[in-house]
């Protein structure tokens, strides 16, 4: 099927011998015959497949349901070995679908899936102190813990991490999420979002734009900003209420 621009949600997983990219794509209900490698992006090799689900939230009018009322969509698993450790970046347009499939996969294994979640303090510190390159923080969200009536406060701008307002909040708020502008391909920049639970998401205009998400993951891995967890980042989602 042809790629449709959509918002994609992703999680980062530890790879092991019992968890290959192909197995992951099959766990995401991709048809075996439809699993194909796509053009590698940087140090990440990428596999893609097509899954069919009942819902279609795409803004595109080109999406067409099959005879069973299912809509096809592309899912990706990118692989990289960084500093000697293998990783999978798993991306799907439907976050509930992703959560459901990964939960099912986790339940079927003797050992839990290992996800990675960022230390958002470290990520903030990284983007505050490094020169903007092709990844630059353009919005930060902090969880207000010492101010009644407020929960999340977001600051956006050229560099919100260096703003006086952000520093005034240090004692009463904790880093929660970040939006990073990625400019790895010569089209529109891609806004990559990540929260401290390990959820990553962005609007992908093309398959190639996945490089921005992968490059952001590489930065977090290389700089030691990630911690392993067996609690799925997708736990944050409210209860399953979809038939995806």
């Amino acid at each position: 099927m042809k790629f449709e621009p959509r918002r994609y949600s992703a999680v980062l997983l530890a790879a092991d011998r019992s968890l290959t990219a192909r197995q992951l794509l099959m766990a995401l209900d991709c048809e075996r015959s439809g699993i194909k490698p796509v053009t590698p992006i940087g140090e990440w090799s990428v596999g893609a497949g097509t899954v069919r689900v009942r819902a279609n939230y795409s803004r595109s009018s080109r999406a067409v349901a099959d005879d069973d009322g299912l809509y096809p969509h592309r899912v990706f698993v990118a692989d990289a070995t960084i500093d000697g450790r293998p990783y999978h970046l798993v991306a799907s347009p439907y976050v509930r679908f992703l959560a459901k499939c990964l939960k099912r996969l986790d339940d079927s294994r003797p050992m839990p899936l290992i996800y990675f979640k960022p230390s958002m303090s470290d990520v903030f510190s990284h983007f505050e102190t490094t020169r903007p390159t092709r990844l630059a923080a353009t919005r930060i969200s902090v969880l207000m813990e010492g101010d009644v009536g407020l929960e999340i406060v977001s600051l956006s701008g050229r560099n919100p991490l260096r703003s006086d307002l952000r520093h005034a909040l240090l004692g009463v708020a904790s880093p929660y999420a970040i939006r990073v502008k990625g400019t790895f391909i010569e089209k529109r920049p891609v806004n990559i979002h990540a929260d401290r639970h390990g959820n990553i998401w962005c609007h992908l205009g093309s398959e190639e734009a996945l490089i921005n998400m992968a490059a952001f993951a590489s930065v977090m891995i290389r700089n030691g900003h990630l911690a392993p967890t067996s609690s799925s980042p997708l736990l944050r989602l409210p209860g399953e209420d979809s038939d995806l």
Binding site: P110, P112, S141, L143, M144, E145, G146, D147, V148, G149, E151, I152, G171, V172, A173, S174, Y176, R196, H197, T229, S230, S231, L235, R236, L237, P238
Partner: protein
């Protein structure tokens, strides 16, 4: 020894010992197998061990949880199924299971059984070394102390040895309590040794009252420590040789419930100690006054905002004092209660903390009383006539010269107004009975020592309650009206003394809610707070009948409509007299940084469900803010009679915290 697998914890015969255990998965509800092993695990962290074992339920292994220090129990079906490993050593399935949680255990006790009989000669206990060498404590020297002190200190030494010998093995998070107890009793012993010897007759002392005050502190420490010895460390391996003297927990005890209570208390205690509010308040004492003072008998809260000094703005010292601890235990006699040395929780919380009526977060209220007492002691503590005279002189001195004198004047003036309000109401009642329409109370402008003594003795409690309610509402309930009101009024429903003084309880709630009102207009503050309280009380009543809440609502309605100001429930008048105290607390004693530290938890999620875990799920990392977690749980609680998994959910709430 025989095993009896029963649906309830009722004693099957007089010699039986019982404890309820709860399966991690519903399918583990099956009866005991015909033969196998009971493996009692004593975890360092129940949450970690249960998180790791969750996926091993099934395949002949059932996992249960209990309130005891042995909080995890494995039922392994069949024989040992041993095999030989690469080194030639024989290994069993139990070895494999223990390996999974190796490093997370203090001890494991293994009971093989056949039919209903435990093969007692084959039971084994394994211990794992503590992560670090245990602290060592010397006995407190008592030999040359007067009899009434010596006996208490000697009793303490024995109680303490019993406590620490077990706590360091099975719950070493009590180490700082142990250090604090040892230091406190040593201090008392040294104090007594400075003025008395073994043959001193207490009647001959200069100040026998002070002497017996010290004795009473020792008596209380011993009483509470024996309670803790029983509850926290009373049941340790071998289980066959120890028991807990409360029938329904007599087999395994309630050690893990006690550990959870300690974890909640310790979180509060550590955060408050690190914030150094007492030190900050002490450092502020010579600073500029925040107001021009009692002349002409009115403070000006609008001017306080320009005051540069407050607990928040005063920088902390370089060397924080260690936390001042309390002994924390469950009590069916005291319920939620605090004293100088202890904080107790309602016994019913062990089995019912997942219901609104027995919310563990109520502990915050008791904790705040002890925190506030330290702060008020800094400003108002009077130990003799000379100190009382100095306090009165500060009040009568006119324009204050320091922050501390302004605070003393303000607090004494608030006490005076609180007293005035109560006297006015009493005088109105009398006048009404006598058919009079006018009441006047005249008070001399300078305060006398007698009046100050009366205010500190009889009215300080109400002032404390107002400040504690404001702190509780902001720090622990995130100024969430519905949760705060629901928690307060569900817990008060179970206290017999509330109904006769219900107007006072309504007033306290109103004043707490008014702490988020930004303007200084007390009339508007009252209108706003009463509308919000009425809405919250109506929500509780919508969920079901609640006698006390219905009564509170009628008191509130009466107070609202009775604007002319007569009658015992004239809430407006009393609210107006106490409202400046709320403003003062908010301006000078509340710290948003401390609030943030209490709530901080990387597990916390933005949105309605702050902790996205349900009963019997265990995250793979520690809950950093037990109070934040409990608040989130309270949001999702139901009344006790509406929750048919109350006991099970309550146990989970305890174990997930330790």
């Amino acid at each position: 020894m025989h095993l009896v697998d029963a649906a309830s914890t009722e004693l099957v015969d007089a010699t039986a010992r019982v404890s309820a255990v709860y399966p991690l998965a519903n399918e583990a509800d099956a009866p005991l197998p015909s033969s196998g092993y009971l493996v009692f695990l004593f975890p360092r962290s129940a949450q970690t061990v249960l998180s790791k074992l969750t996926r091993h339920v099934g395949e002949g292994i059932a996992v249960f949880a209990s309130h005891g220090l042995a909080s995890v129990i494995l039922v392994v079906t069949g024989g040992p199924d041993s095999e030989t490993d690469a080194d030639g050593a024989e290994r069993t399935r139990i070895d494999d299971l223990l390996d999974l949680v190796d490093g997370d255990l203090c001890a494991a006790e293994i009971w093989p059984f056949e039919g209903e009989t435990v093969l007692e000669t084959q039971t084994t206990v394994r211990h794992w070394s503590p992560a670090s060498a245990p602290a060592t404590f010397e006995d407190v020297e008592a030999s040359d102390l007067p009899y009434e002190v010596r006996t208490e200190v000697e009793q303490f030494n024995l109680n303490f040895q019993y406590f620490w010998a077990r706590a360091y093995k099975y719950c070493d998070e009590y180490e700082d309590l142990a250090a604090w107890l040892q230091e406190t009793v040593s201090d008392i012993a040294r104090t007594v040794a400075a003025y008395a010897r073994a043959d001193t007759d207490p009647a001959s002392l200069d100040n026998p009252q002070q002497h017996y005050g010290l004795v009473s502190l020792l008596v209380e420490i011993n009483a509470c420590l024996t309670m803790l010895n029983s509850q926290a460390v009373g049941v340790t391996p071998p289980l066959t040789q120890s028991s807990f003297p409360v029938g329904e927990y007599s087999l395994l005890g309630i050690g893990s419930a006690a550990r959870a209570a300690w974890r909640i208390y310790r979180h509060m205690s550590d955060i408050f100690a690190n914030a150094q509010h007492l030190d900050r308040l002490h450092a502020m004492r010579h600073g500029a006054p925040f107001d021009s003072g009692v002349v002409p008998y009115r403070f000006n809260p609008a001017s306080w905002e320009s005051s540069p000094l407050s607990i928040e703005t005063q920088p902390p010292g370089a060397d924080p004092s260690p936390p001042r601890r309390h002994i924390v235990y469950f009590s069916s006699r005291w319920g939620f209660h605090q004293t100088i040395q202890s904080v107790s929780l309602s016994w019913q919380c062990i089995n019912g903390n997942a219901a609104t009526d027995w919310n563990l977060l109520t502990l915050s209220h008791e904790f705040l009383h002890s925190h506030l007492r330290e702060l008020l002691d800094e400003l108002l503590l009077v130990q003799d006539d000379a100190e009382l005279a100095a306090l009165v002189e500060a009040y009568n001195s006119g324009e204050p010269t320091t922050w501390s004198i302004a605070a003393k004047q303000f607090l004494l003036q608030r006490l005076r107004w609180i007293d005035h309000g109560l006297q006015l109401i009493a005088a109105r009642d009398t006048a009404e009975q006598n058919g009079q329409s006018h009441v006047e109370i005249v008070r001399s402008a300078p305060m006398t020592a007698e009046e100050a003594h009366h205010l500190l003795r009889d009215r300080l409690r109400f002032l404390e309650e107002v400040i504690v309610h404001v702190m509780d509402y902001i720090y622990f309930y995130d100024a969430d009206d519905e949760l705060f009101v629901s928690s307060l009024w569900h817990s008060w429903a179970l206290v017999p003394n509330v109904q006769p003084k219900i107007d006072e309880y309504v007033l306290r709630t109103l004043l707490a809610l008014a702490s988020t009102w930004r303007s200084h207009d007390e009339t508007q503050a009252f209108d706003d707070a009463s509308a919000r309280l009425d809405s919250c009380l109506a929500s509780i009543l919508d969920a079901g009948d609640h006698g006390l809440v219905g009564l509170a609502r009628s008191v509130l309605d009466e107070g609202e409509t009775n604007v002319s100001g007569s009658g015992r429930t004239d809430l407006r008048t009393r609210f107006g007299m106490a409202f400046p105290l709320v403003r003062w607390t908010k301006q000078f004693l509340i710290s948003s940084e401390l609030h943030a530290k209490l709530a901080h938890d990387e597990l916390r999620v933005a949105g309605e469900r702050a902790y996205p875990i349900d009963p019997w799920e265990f995250p793979d990392s520690r809950i950093e803010s037990p109070t934040g977690f409990l608040l989130d749980r309270f949001r999702r609680m139901t009344r006790a009679y509406e929750n048919d998994r109350l006991e099970s959910d309550s146990l989970w709430q305890l174990l997930v915290l330790i």
